[in-house]
């Protein structure tokens, strides 16, 4: 079953005050997310990820195209109760406590008054916020606010959860907990659509990813398929024999791995046999040969058609 479906979804924003001209933020995005998937939406800052989420949540209206969630057109009043949303850098009513905030959102989502306190407590517990349930939100740290934001997104047990940069502001332990939570939610049958520019997070938990660049979809697929595509290179771990001289070129191209002299070289597939012959004749012991797998980072930069620069992705 398809949980989320976008068909040629586009959005223009007017730019300029006196003579506003349209600037395309999202260009004919078409994608499908299957029910029960964790779908990663990757892209640089400004690629159109947040705009897509806002379009799906009807916070902004599409210039053209359409979208359906759970087989209902977006904007259908029956849909909102089945959706959870965590905005990027969430802000909340800081005059409320964590418990009051979740209770408010649970009430808005139609959680009955009788079961509301238990639902609130359960959501806080899942995010490790139970001890801080009665802490005022204005006293919460950034990481705690992120957890409260996640708790409000799941308090009403939605079937589809949209998370905009859910790991932002969290320490490594918090990020792992959020990843575990997402996997738990998936096991419970929820569909998770999350945007991120932290590729390692996406690589660890996503079933499929889509890569967005300057408002255009540049690639999409199952993570195992994208990463399984062979790279025409091999990783060779080797060590020089004691007392035997090594050619300089080898020492320069190899990366020293350990104190006992183990080295790592990356060798093109076409050169592999020649390289191994040379290793054998010139004195070296072969420890392992492994075909190299593409990383998500390589896939991302290839699909986005860019080269990595510092700060692009983590």
């Amino acid at each position: 079953m398809t949980a989320i479906e976008c068909t040629a979804l586009s959005k223009d924003f007017p730019v300029g005050f006196w003579r506003p001209r349209p600037r395309r933020a999202l260009d004919k995005l078409s994608l499908q997310v299957e029910a029960g998937e964790i779908f990663g939406f990757l892209g640089h800052n400004g690629a159109g990820k947040t705009t897509t989420l806002k379009l799906l949540l009807r916070l902004v209206y599409p210039t053209s195209g359409s979208a359906r969630i759970l087989n209902l057109p977006i904007g259908d009043p029956r849909l909102a109760a089945q959706i959870g949303y965590l905005p990027e850098t969430p802000y909340f009513y800081d005059y409320l406590t964590c418990r009051e905030l979740l209770s408010y959102y649970a009430e808005l989502s139609g959680v009955p008054a009788a079961t509301r306190p238990a639902a609130v407590l359960s959501a806080l517990r899942r995010l490790g916020m139970e001890p801080h349930a009665d802490l005022s939100l204005r006293k919460c740290s950034k990481g705690m606010l992120q957890r409260v934001g996640l708790a409000q997104a799941i308090v009403h047990q939605p079937r589809v959860i949209f998370l905009d940069e859910p790991m932002s502001g969290l320490d490594p332990l918090g990020r792992r907990e959020v990843r575990d939570l997402m996997l738990q939610l998936k096991a419970e049958g929820a569909t998770i659509f999350f945007s991120t520019h932290i590729l390692s997070d996406a690589e660890q938990i996503c079933d499929r990813v889509a890569i967005l660049h300057r408002g255009r979809l540049r690639g999409m697929g199952r993570l195992d398929e994208l990463l399984a595509e062979p790279r025409p290179e091999f990783e060779v771990i080797w060590a020089p024999l004691p007392g035997r001289a090594q050619p300089d070129a080898w020492a320069q191209s190899a990366q020293l791995l350990s104190q006992n002299g183990q080295r790592r070289s990356v060798v093109a597939a076409t050169e592999l046999w020649n390289w191994l012959d040379a290793l054998r004749t010139q004195g070296g012991s072969l420890l392992s040969v492994t075909p190299l797998r593409r990383s998500l980072e390589e896939v991302y930069f290839q699909e986005a058609g860019t080269t990595p620069t510092p700060g692009d992705v983590a």
Partner: protein
């Protein structure tokens, strides 16, 4: 109607926790001071002076609260992006607008109700009891609340498309201008210059009519007012506020929350 009720309750809670009720303290002190001061004057004018002062102060406090809370109703939620999370839940934009309006009206009702109580205590101190014509005071309270309901609706409309500061300026300006609609209408009737006549009469009917809602002078002289006139003004405010709320709902519904 649940989302409207929930949003209204939260708006009320925000106002209370923002210590809006501290304004009551200032009002109560002002009333006590005025009562003591005016009893030093002759009996003939002390009640009149207190009623003029008390009702004007009540209006002023109420309008300040209505404008400065009303102008933030939508703008602040957009500025702080709390609206994004809220509207991702099953809350329609019109429900949000109505909930915000109802929450602020409830805040004003409680606030002004308590201020009115302080005023009545001061008045009974000055009058050494009650006055047979005191029912006009109740009408004055009702009319002040009607003015506040209208100011809040104005602030809400401006809050949907401008910054909180501009919304406050626009709302206060319309409140002030609206207090002169009676004069504007009279001017339109006497002038013979047709364009000026049309402009004056047009503006006097289009602008919110706060001048008819001001019964402070009648109240200070304990002059009764006609029941049909009271009902007409209630109807006027209900329709005018409904039109403004409709405009606010339409403005917010059409807006991209970037």
């Amino acid at each position: 109607m649940n989302p409207i009720r929930a949003v209204a309750r939260n708006t009320f809670r925000e106002a209370i926790r923002d210590r809006i009720l501290f304004s009551l303290l200032f009002f109560a002190v002002a009333m006590a001071g005025a009562a003591i001061l005016f009893t030093q004057m002759s009996f003939a004018i002390d009640a009149e002076a207190l009623i003029n002062f008390g009702l004007a102060a009540l209006t002023l406090f109420g309008v300040i609260i209505a404008v400065f809370l009303g102008n933030q109703l939508v703008a602040k939620e957009m500025e702080r992006r709390t609206l994004y999370t809220l509207l991702a839940h099953p809350v329609r934009r019109w429900q949000f607008v109505l909930g915000k309006y109802a929450g602020l009206l409830l805040t004003l009702l409680v606030n002004c109700g308590l201020m009115a109580l302080a005023f009545l205590l001061a008045l009974s101190y000055v009058l050494h009891g009650t006055h047979p014509g005191e029912s006009i005071i109740a009408v004055a309270f009702l009319f002040i609340f009607l003015q506040l309901a209208l100011v809040t609706a104005l602030a809400l409309v401006f809050s949907c498309f401008s910054s909180p500061v501009l919304a406050a300026v626009f709302s206060l300006a319309l409140f002030l201008v609206g207090n002169f609609t009676g004069d504007l209408r009279a001017m339109g009737r006497v002038t013979t210059h047709l364009p000026a006549k049309l402009l004056a009469l047009g503006c006097s009917y289009l602008l919110p009519n706060f001048s008819d809602l001001n019964v402070v002078t009648a109240a200070s002289h304990f002059q009764p007012v006609r029941a049909d006139w009271v009902l007409f003004n209630i109807g006027y405010v209900v329709f005018y506020a409904a039109a403004l709320l409709l405009a606010a709902c339409a403005l917010l519904a059409a807006r991209d929350l970037k």
